[in-house]
């Protein structure tokens, strides 16, 4: 038994024998005393070869009388997850920080401090991360006694301080509106001449309170539609991951046809997302011809998904237990010609650009992320695979129909922007290959399993390999019609933490493409907090006022 094997590895530090996640035998829950946590984490890393995924804080005071902090690890070679759960006394809400051992845990621990109010002791950078600049201290929006529509008074000048620039450097602010990505993010570059020697990041301007809505307002079956809107590009990965997490928690096994349909749509999404990125990456370095051509090649995928699902982007098909609609009956005739055309056209573009020396000069040797840094910051997806870290949730934690299909995990060891670009370019034909196999093997039968009541107090954990990397949804089922806790970890959450390492020693001109090389999605990353920082002063201008030139 996997849980017993893991239990032996963790016997020193776990005060209770580890248990599997109720219905899901691949998710191993292990209770750890807070004071033993750093030791348990080192044990997991060294003995079990665990890879840190994310940490979740839950206010369980009403249900169980404590705050629960769960550190989630992937045991990739065993196709399993390890969850180290600690109970925190509300009278003394502190926990030893694991960031000194795992640099990639920095944001998750800061987020727990902001949202739940459990302070990580020994954290190297305990500044505010998620909450708005005018949020009062001591108000924790993810605590259960904080209403979802509550608006605390604005406190001016509570903005977290800028980290101290190194001696002899000047400050170059980019943002708070990133000029090429058209997304809200604030990067303070510390520069000497045109060389970047350090970076300070301030983000989370795009707060939407998604997680709070799910545990306060929505029902289990409404959340998939909200989840799909977390990301403006790859929404289906979020609804699929959420549904998988609930299915894992409740022990629902979905019909084979639904698994295949999810796979087809997930790979179509990867196709259009990677083509979108190729266009954007070229735009970042001023190569707008290819920007136009990549998006032209992408457009037929959007038309295809509109035909398959009723919409270009928000497919609205995932539901707990399967998919709500089948694809049209002539889909098997209509999909292959589109795939053929995309395969042919991307092949031609790739053939053209690999010899383009100006493109190579911009991408090769810039944005270096060493394999050690990639592991330390726990980056995922093409960002990790471009640095030779061979991880892919489709193979390591098979879901949907991936376990039955053949595909190659594309890994490059160049560690630079070019390597990350090549990973994505190589993944395009792989995605087409997966869709072709799934279409050929598409089983008949029902598309929705029978779903009964979802039992409470269960942990569901699901990963989906999004175009940008592994998306993680953690669910703790609640007693009513909604989850007690739903935590979304988008891939950019980890990948952005690796960006400072990539920017170091680069020139300013390489900064946009280097940030762009992780295919960042700020909106996905910033799903948590509750209120717009300007809520206190926000007003809506009437049309007549705008006409009169007021404001």
């Amino acid at each position: 038994m996997l849980s017993e094997e893991i239990g032996q590895g963790m016997s020193d530090v776990s005060h209770e024998p580890p248990v599997t996640g109720h219905s899901d035998s691949r998710c191993i829950l292990s209770s750890v005393h807070p004071e033993d946590l750093p030791r348990a984490v080192r044990e997991a890393l060294d003995t079990l070869g665990a890879r840190y995924i994310v940490s979740v804080g839950t206010d369980r005071r009403e249900v169980a009388g404590f705050f629960e902090i769960s550190h989630i690890f992937g045991l990739d070679c065993r196709k399993a997850f390890l969850v180290l759960r600690s109970e925190i006394d509300p009278a003394e809400p502190v926990i030893p920080s694991i960031t000194p051992d795992i640099p990639g845990a920095a944001w998750a621990e800061r987020e727990i401090r902001d949202m739940i109010g459990v302070v990580p002791i020994g954290h190297p950078d305990p500044r505010r991360l998620v909450l708005p600049d005018d949020w009062p201290e001591g108000v924790y929006p993810l605590r259960k006694d904080f209403a979802f529509d509550e608006r605390p008074p604005s406190v001016p000048h509570s903005r977290p301080p800028l980290s101290v620039p190194p001696q002899g450097s000047s400050l170059l602010p980019i943002g708070p509106f990133f000029p090429t990505l058209e997304e809200p993010v604030f990067l303070n570059l510390f520069v000497q001449g045109e060389h970047i020697i350090g970076v300070d990041y301030r983000g989370f301007y795009n707060h939407r309170g998604v997680e709070k809505l799910a545990d306060a307002v929505l029902t289990y079956r409404q959340v998939p539609f909200l989840a799909e809107r977390i990301c403006g590009i790859c929404g289906f990965v979020h609804s699929a991951s959420y549904c998988q997490a609930i299915e894992a928690a409740a022990g629902i096994s979905i019909p084979p046809r639904a698994r295949y349909l999810r796979t087809i749509l997930l790979e179509l999404e990867r196709l259009h997302s990677h083509l979108l990125w190729i266009g954007l990456a070229c735009h970042f370095i001023g190569f707008d011809t290819l920007f136009m051509q990549a998006w032209r090649i992408r457009e037929p995928v959007m038309w295809l998904t509109e035909y398959l699902t009723g919409n270009r982007k928000t497919y609205g098909m995932n539901q707990i237990g399967g998919v709500t609609r089948d694809i049209p009956s002539d889909a098997l005739d209509r999909i292959p010609p589109v795939l053929d055309k995309i395969a042919y056209e991307t092949g031609r573009v790739v053939d053209a650009i690999v010899g383009d020396s100006s493109l190579r000069l911009r991408l090769q040797g810039t944005g270096i992320l060493t394999p050690d840094d990639a592991r330390a910051f726990c980056v995922i997806g093409p960002t990790a695979r471009g640095s030779g870290v061979d991880i892919d949730a489709r193979r390591d934690h098979p879901y949907a129909a991936y376990g039955e299909l053949e595909f190659e995990v594309c890994v490059e060891d160049g560690c630079d922007n070019w390597a990350r670009a090549m990973v994505r370019i190589r993944e395009l034909p792989e995605a087409i290959k997966i869709i072709r196999q799934a279409l050929a093997g598409l089983p008949d039968g029902p598309i929705m399993a029978e779903v009964h009541e979802i039992p409470s107090g269960r942990v569901g954990l699901a990963v989906v390999e999004a175009p940008r990397g592994e998306v993680v949804h953690y669910v703790l089922t609640g007693r009513g019609q909604r989850p007690e806790r739903w935590r979304v970890r988008a891939p950019s959450y980890n990948n952005l933490q690796g960006v400072p390492a990539m920017l170091r020693d680069m020139t300013i001109a390489d900064a946009p493409i280097t940030v762009g090389s992780i295919d960042p999605c700020f909106s996905c990353t910033e799903r948590v907090a509750v209120i717009d920082s300007r809520a206190g002063t926000m007003r809506i201008y009437r049309q007549s006022e705008l006409r009169a030139g007021k404001g």
């Binding site: 307002v217 509109e306 035909y307 009723g310 919409n311 690999v354 383009d356 049309q543």
Partner: protein, 179 residues
């Protein structure tokens, strides 16, 4: 250098071959694919006011308010996300997803649908039983299933709580609980 030149030549050819791809929209109309989920359209003649859509809607934009002898069903479609949940759950097939995607308007009033449906109230306590249409539908289905008539089915003008009380007070229906 020569390789770079070849590369640029290939890029030029890709552009030339593609030619102009921009669509004529909005100067020419654009028809979405069949099965497109556009603005929901509610048929007021078919809606039975059961509230299934209101509890399914993830954006919570469907409201049911009972006042006197009427139930008002309203859709605030300015907040609609076009997910199609209301259509999927509607037992009366009153909701269809139209092909309409051009919903820009100066007033959100244009995106509000409101219907008034007649209510049936409990003859004993006055609580809401349901809309007249929903009750009629129940009668129709029960008549079809049992072969009886509306009169023999009975209790159609009682609310759920009063139905329970009546059932307990009817000796023929009371179930004896024994071990």
């Amino acid at each position: 250098m020569f390789k770079h030149f070849i590369s640029e030549l290939k890029e030029t050819l890709i552009c030339l071959e593609a030619g102009q791809v921009t669509l004529g929209y909005p100067f020419q109309p654009h028809a979405p694919e069949a099965g497109f989920r556009g603005l929901p359209v509610v048929d007021p003649l078919l809606c039975i006011g059961c509230g299934a859509c209101a509890s399914a809607c993830p954006a919570r934009l469907i409201d049911m308010t009972d006042d006197g002898d009427h139930r008002t069903v309203s859709f605030e479609l300015a907040r609609c996300t076009y997910c199609g949940s209301c259509r999927d759950v509607c037992p009366a097939e009153a909701v269809t997803m139209s092909m309409q995607f051009e919903t820009a308007t100066a007033s959100t009033q244009d995106l509000r649908i409101s219907m008034k449906l007649k209510l049936v109230r409990c003859v004993l306590c006055g609580d809401v039983v349901g809309t007249q249409r929903a009750t009629d539908r129940v009668v129709r289905d029960l008549v079809a299933a049992t072969g009886g008539t509306a009169e023999t089915i009975g209790w159609l003008d009682l609310c759920l709580a009063c139905k329970r009380k009546e059932a307990m007070a009817t000796p023929a229906l009371a179930i004896e609980v024994t071990r």
